[in-house]
């Protein structure tokens, strides 16, 4: 980072780079996420559900941005909204939507779903009941500009030192590799 740029950044911060209209953005994004989340499960047409899910993911990415986690927001957009959802749509498009939307749901897993929903509701209610005690007194003031670097330090560590989550991160990548190999073995008869 050259001195001019650093000076520019500090002057911008001193000029009052406070977030604008925070509650407004929060309520719009949260409302959008909830409304499209409801649409995901109520639409009979699978493509409409998938599109609503994309809106949910984008709204959540916006919420991440408001939490000063731009890297997570960017990854959310690039991986979920841009990558995974395109593959979802790719598969759904090959399904005969007209027939599948008229079909009655035949599996009997709704009691499990109900139990999970109740557990989640209980969690929310307890959080609201306990209120402020659960949260730190004041907001951490993380500089937005170092968010990506901090994630990198946590995952890979400083020079010559292992990061806090290096092992978990590497194990997760192994898990993905196993999934890829499984997919290849299932589709190819002869490798």
């Amino acid at each position: 980072m050259n001195p001019g740029m650093t000076a520019g950044l500090t002057s911008a911060v001193n000029a009052g780079m406070t977030p604008v209209g925070t509650p407004w953005f929060f309520y719009v994004l949260a409302g959008l996420a909830v409304a499209s989340g409801v649409a995901v499960i109520t639409r009979r047409n699978a493509v409409h559900s998938a599109l609503a899910l994309i809106v949910t993911l984008l709204a959540v990415a916006g919420l991440y941005l408001m939490l000063y986690a731009p890297f997570v927001a960017g990854v959310q957009i690039i991986v979920y909204a841009g990558g995974i959802m395109v593959l979802f749509l790719f598969v759904i498009m090959l399904v005969n939507i007209d027939r599948s939307s008229k079909e009655r749901q035949f599996n009997r897993i709704w009691p499990v779903g109900l139990a999970a929903a109740c557990a989640l509701l209980a969690l929310f209610v307890s959080t609201i009941a306990k209120g402020k005690a659960l949260f730190p007194d004041r907001l951490m003031t993380l500089p937005e500009s170092s968010n990506t670097q901090q994630i990198a330090t946590m995952l890979y560590g400083e020079a010559g030192k292992m990061g806090q989550y290096t092992f978990a991160f590497e194990i997760a990548s192994l898990l993905l590799l196993v999934a890829i190999l499984g997919a290849v073995i299932m589709t190819k008869k002869k490798i």
């Binding site: 980072m1 994309i54 890297f71």
Partner: protein
Amino acid sequence: MPNFIMSYLDPKVTVTPGSAGNQFWALMYVLIIFAGVSVAVICMNWIERKALAHFQVRLGPMRVGPHGLLQPIADAVKLMIKEDIIPAEADQFVFWIAPMIGLLAAFTVYTVIPFGPSQAVSDMNIGILFMLGVSSLGVLGIVVAGWASNSHYPLIGALRSSAQMVSYEVAMGLAVVSAILMTSLNASGTGTLSMIGIVQAQQQQGVWFIFKFFPLGFIAFVIFAIAMVAETNRAPFDMAEAESELTAGYHTEYSGLRWSLFMLAEYAAMIAVSSIAVALWLGGWMRPFPNLLHAPAWDFIFSLFPGLTFGGLAAIAFVEAVRMPTQSFFRIQRIGLAVFAALLGFIALLLLVIAVAGRSADMSVAARFREGIDYVYWFVLKVAGFMYLFIWYRATWPRYRFDQLMKIGWKVMLPISLGVLVATAIVGVIFS
């Protein structure tokens, strides 16, 4: 309020309006960029038709205006007043929203494109990640359009396009990562994802990343340059709309204004990915040889370029006006072209005056103007080079077969980009 507006014009403020937290100028920049891109798309439309025609030894549009200069406007009017048909069996809502998705994705990317160190809407900390992510949303518009049309050819086009884009995104991302690695070769050892930061890293290291660790930077650049043609669905990778196989692919059922939105989105996305390539490998807004020819005299000479470019265009237009046939039928066209030449000449004069008036290094208004014009000029010139390449590719190469396309994407480009990434990391560690 006026204080708020004027506070950004303070010479001490050297950041983008987004970073300075100034909504007014951010909005102004958005409007300027939106208008600029729309005009660029119109120009590109005309240049593409003319250049393609000349590649094929034809004349191209000649009737509407001198040398068909007014053809894009005539096309736009035609598309706007054409009947907008929605097929009876189509999914109405999705059919309606699909072109908007593509257009939104294409134009949202422009918030972080660095036309200059402060000539961007905002300098996001995750700039390049944001650009890749949002531009990958563009494929959703194509996929959804193909599905909503409820017709075979569009569906096949949409399937092809989604498979193709997901495949080439991988190689593209790896090529980008190897460029981002190069930004970390400084004293602090920390790289950056910010678009402006990436260009400033090239400025600091005194080399465009295309020439860094030759040939590693160059290979990464070539991979990106190929993948970006595939990402924007342009020939020779235009499998999604292969007209000889799929009629018109995903937009077969679209007509009128909605169809033109697809075209607008495609060209806007082309300009956007070209700007990524320019910012990452070709030094962004920097003029050629800034550290070799850094004397103030050279600064002055290079700052004359914008004016001279417009002067050259004006001269060409003037010569063509003189060469018009002398029949009375062409009189209006001749006058029109002469007026156009005069307009270009006036712009050239204005730019030259600014260049001369702002040649001192102080922070006067003229000097800042000159600086800004220089940055935007060099950036746009490099992007324009890429836009010409897009036309050139289209005129030169036959379309790939779909299996060939997949084979190149997964078996050639992906391994090479992975290898370049590893090699860049190793060489970077050795030389830092």
